[in-house]
Every structure is written in C-alpha cells, then in structure tokens.
Symmetry: C2
Subunit: 269 residues, 2 copies
C-alpha cells in the first residue's frame, strides 16, 4: 500500500477527471500533504490536447487500490465508476458535481458536492476559500475542465458559477476562453485520423422495418465543414456499404456539439 494519498477521477477519464485530479494534487501539496494524481484508464484526445498545451506528463495509470489505501475521489462517487477495491479503501475526501449513489464510508470524511457543471468550478471555490493563490498551470487546467464539461457554456448543466469561475481563470491564465476552448474541443472531436469507412461506422446502428434494411450513423464535431471537406469520399464509402450489405438506406448525421446543428448525408440503394 502506498503511504501517500492517491487522487483520481472516474474510469474512462474525461478532461474534468484528469484536470481536477491534477489541480487537487497541487491543492494538497500546497497544504503539505503527500499526494499523487493518478488515472483510471486511457485519456481522450481532448485531454491529451490540454496536457500537451501545458507540457504535463500523463498521470500514472492504476486499476485498483489496496485495502486501507488513502484516496481522494474527484468528479465521481459511485463505486462502480471508481477503482477496483474502492470499497475497502479509506476515502479521505470527495469533490464532485454528480448525484450521490452506490457510495458509503465507515468514517467521517470531507465531502463536497455542488450542483454545478464541473468539478473544477468547485475546486476554484476551494482555492478562494483557502486564500490560496491560483497559478497559471492550475488556472488553465480548471478552465479546460469547465470548457469541456459545459461545452463552452452551451450545456444545460452549465451554471452561472461555472461561467464566473471560468472567466476568472481566463484572467489569471491570460487565455481567451473561446479560441482556446474551441481548439481544445476540436482536438477532442478530431475526425481526421479516421478513414471514410471508419467514420461512417464510428457510431452506426443497423435497423430494419419490414423488408427495409437501413443504417443510421452519427459523428460529433465542432466543425461540420471539416467533415464535409471529405463529402465525396464519404459518399463513396456509403455507396460501398449499401451494396455490400444489401441496405435500402444509409443516413449519416454530422452533429455540431456546440450548436446542436446537424448536417445529414442520406443515400438510397
């Protein structure tokens, strides 16, 4: 068992889980604690963008914790979203913005949840409450988490507190929320690595009605026009899919997650 406290977010970590772990690591280190931010799984491209931007190495990956291991959970509380063995770990603290369920402790602990859009918004408040200076690195980590969780304030879970925190963090870091945020979200929805065949199969559902067989496929992006640059190749791939699988219809939906706009390419047999 490790003597230091381990800090981690949920499995399949998103940007909030990784950034909030790193920010809490700094918070505790400032207070003199022996802590390490770790992660429960691979990070996505969006998070990679943030870490690269800051030149931060990936936190160490763990899968399970030993009995009695001191841990701090960020961005989650439900045991089924947490590390293996969490039931017998010593949970020292939880900072989260989700409902509470499938969670219990033997002893009193520090638990801080608020119904806001992002864990980092709560962390921002904690720094303020402790009169702890926020450095540029942590400001950018928290800003990135808020932009990610609120989709640049467009998500219905976004609150005024998230906006206020993000704007203060932008001032500290000297970062333009919109241009940086858009680049970050773009990186997360980067579809350039995929071939047209992969694109139309990323999230494809095969359906049938009577004798009609059809497929509905969707991709998420922040730049529909980027996807449409490859419109001809995509159409070719769809036609191939139709003839190979005897489909009657293939509907390909390209959704802009920021504006909830979609463009549709539909091809019949």
């Amino acid at each position: 068992m490790e003597n230091k406290m381990l800090i981690f977010g949920h499995k399949n970590p998103d940007t909030d889980s990784i950034c909030s772990s790193l920010v809490m690591e700094k918070f505790y280190k400032n207070l003199g604690f022996d802590v390490e931010a770790v992660r429960l799984g691979n990070v996505n491209k969006e998070t990679e963008y943030v870490l690269n931007y800051l030149g931060i190495l990936l936190p160490r990956e763990i899968q399970k914790v030993e009995e009695g291991q001191k841990v701090v959970l960020v961005d989650h509380n439900e045991f089924n979203q947490s590390a293996e063995g969490i039931e017998s770990a010593t949970i020292e603290a939880v900072i989260d913005h989700h409902r509470i369920a499938n969670f219990q402790t033997k002893d009193p602990l520090y638990y801080r949840a608020e119904p806001v859009g992002c864990t980092s918004t709560i962390l921002y408040k904690k720094f303020k409450e402790e009169n702890m200076a926020i450095e540029k690195r942590e400001a950018i980590l928290m800003l990135s988490a808020i932009v990610s969780d609120t989709l640049l304030f467009k998500s219905p879970t976004c609150t005024q507190e998230d906006k206020n925190a993000c704007e203060e963090l932008a001032k500290i870091s000297g970062i333009d929320i919109n241009s940086y945020g858009l680049e970050m979200l773009k990186a997360g929805t980067d579809l350039n690595d995929f071939t047209p065949e992969q694109l139309i199969n990323l999230d494809a559902k095969s359906l049938s009605k009577g004798n009609t067989k059809y497929v509905i496929a969707q991709v998420n992006t922040v730049a529909i026009e980027d996807v449409l640059k490859r419109e001809e190749e995509i159409k070719e791939a769809i036609k191939k899919e139709i003839s190979e699988n005897g489909l009657d219809l293939f509907v390909f939906v390209i959704t802009d997650i920021l504006n909830s706009n979609s463009e549709i390419i539909a091809i019949r047999k």
Copy 2:
C-alpha cells in the same frame, strides 16, 4: 406538499441538530430562500436550555415528508435517522459531519461534510465563505452546538477547527464559553428530577456469572458532587434493590462526562 424547503436534523434531535437547523434557516433566509427549520421529535433538556436562553420557540415537529418535498438535512445523512418518506423527497442539500451511508439521490445536490466535531463548525465556515455577517443569535446557537457535540472540547472527535470556530463565536456573542457551556451541559445532565430509585435504574444492566447476580448502573453528570449530595438516599435505594431482586452486588457509577472521572458506589448483599 409545502413549497418551502424544510430543514431538519436527525431523529431524537440533539443540540447540534436543532441549533444547526435554526442557523441554516437564517443562512437561507439571508439568501432569499423560503425555508423553515423543523424537528423530528422531542428536544432534550440541554437544547431546551439553549432555546430558553435565547427566547426561541421550539421549531415545529414533523414526522414525515411528502414525495418531492424539498429538504435540507443537517447533522445526518442516513435515511434511517431521517424523516419518514425521505427516500422520495428532493434533497437539496446536506451539511453533516458523519460518515456517509444509507444515502442516495437521483440528482446532483449540495453536499458538505467535514470530519470535524460538530455541524455548526461547518456552518460557521459557510457564513465566512459567503461573507455573511453572523448575528448574536446565530453565534450563540452555533457555539452551543459545538460545546454540546465536543463536551466543551473534551471529546475525542473535537478538532482545532471546532475550537477556533467556537472562540470566534464567543467573541461575536460576548459569551464566556466555559461558564455558559458548563451551565448548558449541566442542564442537559440535570439529575435532580429523578428519585434515587429512578437514578439507579436510568442505565442499569443486569448480569450474572455462575451463581452470582449483579447489576452495573451508570449516570452521566457534569457535577459528581451534586449527585453525591444524595449519597445516603442512593445507598438506601441500592440496598432495597439488592434485597428485592436477590442480587449479590450492585455497582453504581457516577461519571463526569467532562473529565471522564467516575465515582463508584458498590454495595454487596
């Protein structure tokens, strides 16, 4: 269903449950919310002392809450310690200093727990964080709760944060923690209303080993000498108990909860 949020502590409310409910009521009212502090059962003599001191009427008693009722829990979270129907209420917030168990919500909420000795210590911090002025009434309520839960800082659950908060609250209220606290704890452990027969049966365990039958009984007080004023009457009551129940030994322990000192009256057949 009531439109306003109901705020309450645990069943068999203690001083922290009642005082913290009243303080949270004030906190929310300051923020413009429609709230009412209520209670889940009779209050004890210690709490009565506090309310009388401040000239505050008892909060309204409720037993259950209706589906969807907005509630704020203080000083507890476990559903089995809460109001009937809590499973289907809408829990807006929890402020507590206990472990988390038997608790879950459908939606995100405000949850604030800290491993300190008293809920009111956390409330004190909340007022500070909101830059909200603490008035004399709330200062005395919080101070009373802290003195009660920490037994005048003597309890092993007492932390430096509890002490600091209590001292600040003493300054605001102009109250001497020791003299007021001792009077309050005395009121709570007032044994004068009990006859000697009742005293020796308040918390009595009948035991036997081989052919020997004995009883161990205990009372808690902050003034052992007050109890010992009735030593002769108590001894008479014990002798009567021994002869009536064919006991071999009766041990009566008078414990000073502040110093963990005990005086023992032991009488054999």
